[in-house]
Symmetry: C2
């Protein structure tokens, strides 16, 4: 959004403001027509600036989500890798709960290289990978997990917490304890 006509820039900003309000109120499934109308703009103008819903989410949340990577870099210097990972996971879950339904979009984007949110989600996943690896090297976290599963864990806790906010702390606690190398071995017995 560097150059361009003055009204174009103004419309871009108006659309972001309206989208932020709509997503906050109705979740990420909010009507795009409503967003355009509330921005005082034709619906095609919205589509030109943001070809997909993910593009809108990326514009609104990309910077803040990529901030999780910076945060991970800081936490990598921590002397307690277990605690560093826990702290980071707590923040990641919080970010994934920014809007209702956001976590669905994030998970879908990670699978879809064509999504406008893909690179951002990948950055979050990579940030988690580093903290996970360090905690695993320190023997604080079970070794049979990779960053992909860690992303799923964040998403699952965020998804459930979004629906039942009162459960958030306990869901997180169960996940964190489950990540730690327990006294009981990792393998589970499935009915055969």
């Amino acid at each position: 959004m560097a150059a361009g006509r003055k009204d174009a820039r103004r419309n871009y900003e108006r659309l972001l403001t309206a989208a932020q309000a709509a997503f906050a109120e109705h979740g990420v499934g909010a009507s795009l027509n409503d967003i355009a109308r509330n921005a005082g703009v034709g619906n095609v103008t919205l589509y030109r600036h943001f070809p997909t819903r993910q593009a809108l989410l990326e514009a609104l949340l990309g910077e803040s989500l990529r901030g999780l990577r910076t945060r991970a870099d800081e936490l990598l210097t921590s002397p307690a890798p277990d605690e560093a990972l826990s702290t980071w996971l707590d923040g990641a879950v919080e970010h994934a709960m920014t809007y209702r339904g956001l976590v669905d979009a994030l998970v879908d984007s990670l699978d879809d290289p064509a999504s406008d949110l893909h690179a951002t989600c990948q950055a979050v996943k990579d940030a988690g990978a580093q903290l996970l690896a360090k905690a695993q090297q320190a023997g604080a976290v079970r070794p049979d997990l990779d960053a992909s599963v860690l992303f799923s864990l964040i998403a699952s806790v965020a998804w459930a917490s979004e629906r039942t906010p009162a459960h958030r702390d306990q869901l997180l606690a169960v996940m964190l304890d489950g990540l730690r190398k327990g006294a009981s071995p990792a393998t589970i017995e499935r009915a055969s």
Copy 2:
């Protein structure tokens, strides 16, 4: 569906068959108009038999979901409460993954007493409650959890597993280990 006109009964069956196929293919968000059309029936006929989408899901899955309660009763006699709970949770997660998006409907129904799926979800939750209590009494599971959180845990694992089936076993393993009283019980007060 005991009495009624012959064509009404036939339409009811046809709708269930079409709904099952549609949900299996497109998830629980499948078009109701499509279901009616594939059943060779007017759309209003669908609405009369099944006033809501949840009513359709209840008709398709109610019996099988309530089977989780019977299964829990059986498992209550097991001498290993920890294993009994794990086995039951594995099955509950499986049931919640029957259709794409089903877990969303289940969680919503539990919160909403007016939902046609509410009683069924409540039965599942109650079934889990018994196994959870027994495992907690045996000291095999952390005491700071109730059946409501357990339901959220099932739902969260089912939700993530549905999107990434390859993660299912590991997500379940992390949850099960997190449920167990770990060697690092930060949140658990010890009575010594």
